[in-house]
Amino acid sequence: MRLRAWLWLALSSVSAGSLAAGTRPHYGGILTMDLTGTFSTLEPSELPGLLSTLIGETLVRINSRGEFEPCLAASWQREADGRRWRISLRSNVKFHDGELLNAVSAAPVLLAALKRTYSDVAITPGGTTLVIQSASPLPDLLTELASPRTAIIRKSESSPLIGTGPFRVTAWEPGRRLALAAFEDYWGGRPFLDSAVINLGSNRTSADVFDVPFSSLRRILPEATRIWQSAPGELLALVAADVPAFAMQALALAIDRSSIVNVLTQRRGEPAFGLLPQWLSGYEFLFQSAPDVTRARQLASQSKLNPLALSYAGNDSFARAVAERIALNARDAGLTVQPSPNSGGSLRLVRLPLESADAAADLVILTRLLGLAERTNTVDVSKPETLYEAEKALLDSNRVIPLLHLPQLYALTPRVHFREADRGNPLILHLEDLWVDP
């Protein structure tokens, strides 16, 4: 199943259109970027979405329409039983150290990555062709091949990470700073920027680009700073442990999501009624419901309930604000919810990232993260209706209440320009599409 997100794209184009206007793209320049988050390894699977495709690339990728499209693979063929796949590699693709990508160099990396998912998989390299086969069918192999976990990368003494992406690593200070330079021989064309310096764990707002967490969304930004907003790629949800179903239903009816969206996200987020956002699933509107405090109060009065502890990440002031609002809404329904930064409450406020533009993959990942994987293991995720039913079953289990779908927000200073291009994952700000004024 591949869902189209034309609606989000249209909106995104409108919001980002102004960013692309003005100057024509040109090469050169150094971009500085401050990220509030940090990471200590350059493994593509561990990198934030923003950086995951800059250095190492996958064989296939998912575009903004939810379709698989070639990346390092030029084409692929699947035999009828799904046990054998033939992948033809793109020609003239070079690693950052100048070595050409071929089946022999790609096979070991790919096999090691696929073994984590398919234990009996085998890869036979042959020139520019990789033959992947298994004793059992591999229906979701393309999803796996689009995951950053299967990025074709190498490591050497001179560089911590060598890939085929548009940027190569020139300096790496784990947890602090990453310096990238444009890869001149990138098969997709040299990026506009000459280089990019990314500072990690920084709360400054002086860089050309910096991320804007929702907790500081309402702070005053430098003059003329623009916000780039990804597709909603993060789910904020309430997850219950040992909370009676009637209490969860009452909570779901009591929470006024629109107020949270309007005020706490300054309309950047979206009310979430399903686990997957509308742009990804296409059916989220079917779960939509309006707050009904009266009904919530009726439900809550069914039985006397002890106060519910609601835990949230202690360092996340946005989560705290949402938790306090939930407590207030719950109070209106006659429920006592006590927000606490300590873990272990009967309710948890969690932020779950959507890793790709593949709805089925994201649902599986979400259910795994929510501890509800057993409910989707037997679902045929290739059909929209079964995916809907699986998600509905998840919601009906009264174990999780979706609250918000949140986008990634980046502030761009006036010297940074952006060219809109469908490079795949709409959750990511593609640095290769940015250029800066001299």
């Binding site: 107020s259 300054q266 306090e324 207030l328």
Partner: protein, 580 residues
């Protein structure tokens, strides 16, 4: 109850009552003074509370004015009055402004009454505060007490409201300070006093609330009818002052506790002192009672001793007179009385002696006159017979000598009786069983009673089976009983019942033995009973009047007692009691 104990009790009770009265009066005065002082202190504290309330209220008003006039709020008001107002961008303003002005509460509320930003509860954005939309001149309203709902409960605040008007739209700035611990800490609370605020929306007073049960009662009463109340317990005195909100609702109760520990200590001291004084009083009473009693009772005891001596027959005893008080006078009177009695006794003895002699003479004359008269006749017959024939003279002589001898025997008998009475010998004591003696006496009269022509006498002998033996002279006892039986028989000339009864008697003087002799004769008058034992007194025509005198003499010589019980027409009973 002895005089000493009476004196002791009198002194003790007097001292205790005096001490109690003094202690009660002092305690009442101290309590009154203490309560007056506490009332003044409470009033001063409440006045200070009111002053601090007003002062802080003015401060709150000044700060809210500053916020309402700030650029931020003015700009906000203008923006919100625009065509497409976006209140969400101001959600963080109230906390910042409240921090700036050091206010605990601040809410920025839009023209529709919805909270735009809240400092005390940031999550409440969008909630309705409809009370702000009431047509009120908020500036004139001033500062008032208001319940403030917070995420973790509710509290009380000094709150004021300002409206920032832009065109037709008004942005409301409502905020203030919490009525917190710091507020109460700033009050000049005197030692022994505590101030606490009971907030009326709390379910019940907190465990550490003043006075627990007393405070709870007080709170309940003020809740029912808001008014100032004061209640007192042994531990504390609590005043409750209702604090009313803008809408006339009882929002809180100011509880001012004055510890009564100091008063209690004072009272305990007074009580302890009273006990001490009381104990000393009791001791003093004891000493005084002994001293006083000894002072008073010594002459009384001496006097009593003299009385006892007089009673024992020592008529020459005199009480010692060593004071001029009432007791001394009593002793003098006693001595005078004994002197008078002694003289009277002497005179009586003399008179009785004369009377006895007269009686004796009369008796003797009477007794002797009867035999003398035949003697005289016989002698005169004998003289006249000398002129008769010798044969007649011999006959008369023989008869006359016979008569003379008989009458002389009679005279000897009479004289013997008097002699016997005069010569009553001292009893020779031996162990005697009265039952046996009684039977022996009855045996003596058996023939007489059963003699033909004698009136029918029914004899009843009621003897105690285990009658104790007594130490007595059996002959004298027998003689005494014989006289009593004889008297009883004489009392029943027409017959009747003679009852002789013996019994053991347990009395204060130990076990005694009693014997009763009863008849069913005519009985005696009380006057006769009184004189019955007087020698030579008799109710019989031919008695000597010595029978019962002899009986009394025998009983007296045996240290016993004799009594008579009689009523006319109901017979007479003589009862003799003898010691073992």
């Amino acid at each position: 109850m002895s005089f000493r104990i009476k004196v002791f009790l009198s002194i003790t009770v007097t001292v205790l009552i005096a001490v109690w009265v003094v202690a009660a009066v002092v305690s009442a005065l101290v309590t009154n003074s203490f309560e007056r002082r506490e009332a003044q202190r409470t009033a001063a504290l409440v006045a200070e509370f009111q002053r601090e309330f007003d002062r802080r209220g003015q401060e709150v008003a000044r700060r809210i004015d500053a916020i309402a006039n700030s650029d931020t709020v003015q700009r906000m008001a203008v923006n919100l009055a625009g065509p497409q107002p976006d209140a969400s961008r101001y959600v963080d303003e109230a906390p910042a402004l409240a921090r700036e002005q050091s206010l605990n509460f601040l809410e920025l509320v839009g023209p529709d009454g919805r909270i735009i930003s809240s400092a005390e509860w940031p999550a409440r954005f969008g909630y309705q505060e409809s009370w702000l939309l009431e047509p009120v001149d908020w500036k004139a309203q001033g500062v008032f007490l208001k319940r403030e709902d917070l995420a973790d409960g509710a509290t009380l605040g000094l709150v004021t409201v300002r409206g920032v008007k832009t065109g037709e739209r008004t942005l409301y700035v409502a905020g203030g300070s919490q009525l917190d611990k710091e507020f109460f800490d700033s009050l000049p609370v005197a030692e022994g006093m505590r101030v606490q605020l009971y907030r009326n929306f709390e379910p019940r007073p907190a465990p550490d609330t003043l006075g627990s049960a007393l405070a709870a009662t007080l709170i309940q009463q003020v809740q029912q009818q808001p008014r100032e109340l004061t209640r007192t317990s042994p531990a504390a005195s609590i005043s409750a002052i209702p604090l009313i909100g803008r809408d006339k609702q009882l929002l809180a109760i100011l509880l001012v506790e004055s510890s009564r520990a100091e008063l209690a200590t004072l009272k305990r001291t007074i009580q302890a002192t009273a006990w001490g004084v009381g104990a000393v009083g009791v001791l003093l009473g004891l000493i005084l009672s002994f001293w006083t009693a000894s002072r008073i009772t010594r002459p009384l005891r001496a006097l009593a001793g003299s009385v006892r001596q007089v009673a024992a027959g020592d008529w020459n005893t005199r009480a010692v007179v060593d004071s001029r008080d009432e007791i001394g006078q009593l002793a003098r009177d006693f001595n005078h009385m004994t002197e008078q009695l002694s003289e009277q006794r002497d005179r009586m003895i003399q008179a009785e002696r004369v009377a006895a002699w007269r009686e004796l003479a009369r008796r003797l004359a009477h007794e002797l006159k009867n035999p003398l008269f035949p003697l005289q006749i016989t002698v005169e017959n004998l003289q006249r017979s000398r002129q008769a024939s010798p044969e007649q003279f011999d006959e008369v002589f023989r008869e006359s000598t016979t008569t003379l001898l008989a009458e002389l025997d009679n005279l000897k008998t009479i004289i013997g009786r008097f002699s016997d009475f005069a010569k009553m010998p001292a009893p020779h004591l031996e162990s005697v069983n009265l039952n046996d003696t009684v039977r022996e006496v009855l045996k003596l009269f058996e023939a007489q009673i059963r003699a033909p022509g004698h009136a029918p006498i029914d004899v009843r002998l009621e003897t105690e089976q285990n009658l104790a033996s007594i130490a007595a002279d059996s002959d004298q006892i027998r003689r005494a009983l014989r006289n009593l039986v004889l008297n009883a028989l004489d009392a029943m000339p027409k017959g009747g019942t003679l009852t002789i009864r013996t019994q053991n008697v347990n009395g204060t003087a130990g076990t005694r033995v009693a014997v009763e002799v009863s008849d069913t004769g005519e009985g005696l008058t009380p006057e006769e009973c009184e004189r019955l034992f007087t020698p030579y007194y008799t109710t019989k025509q031919h008695g000597t009047g010595l029978g019962l005198a002899i009986v009394q003499s025998v009983v007296s010589d045996h240290k016993g007692t004799i009594s008579v019980h009689s009523q006319p027409g109901h017979g007479t009973t003589f009862r003799i009691e003898l010691n073992r």
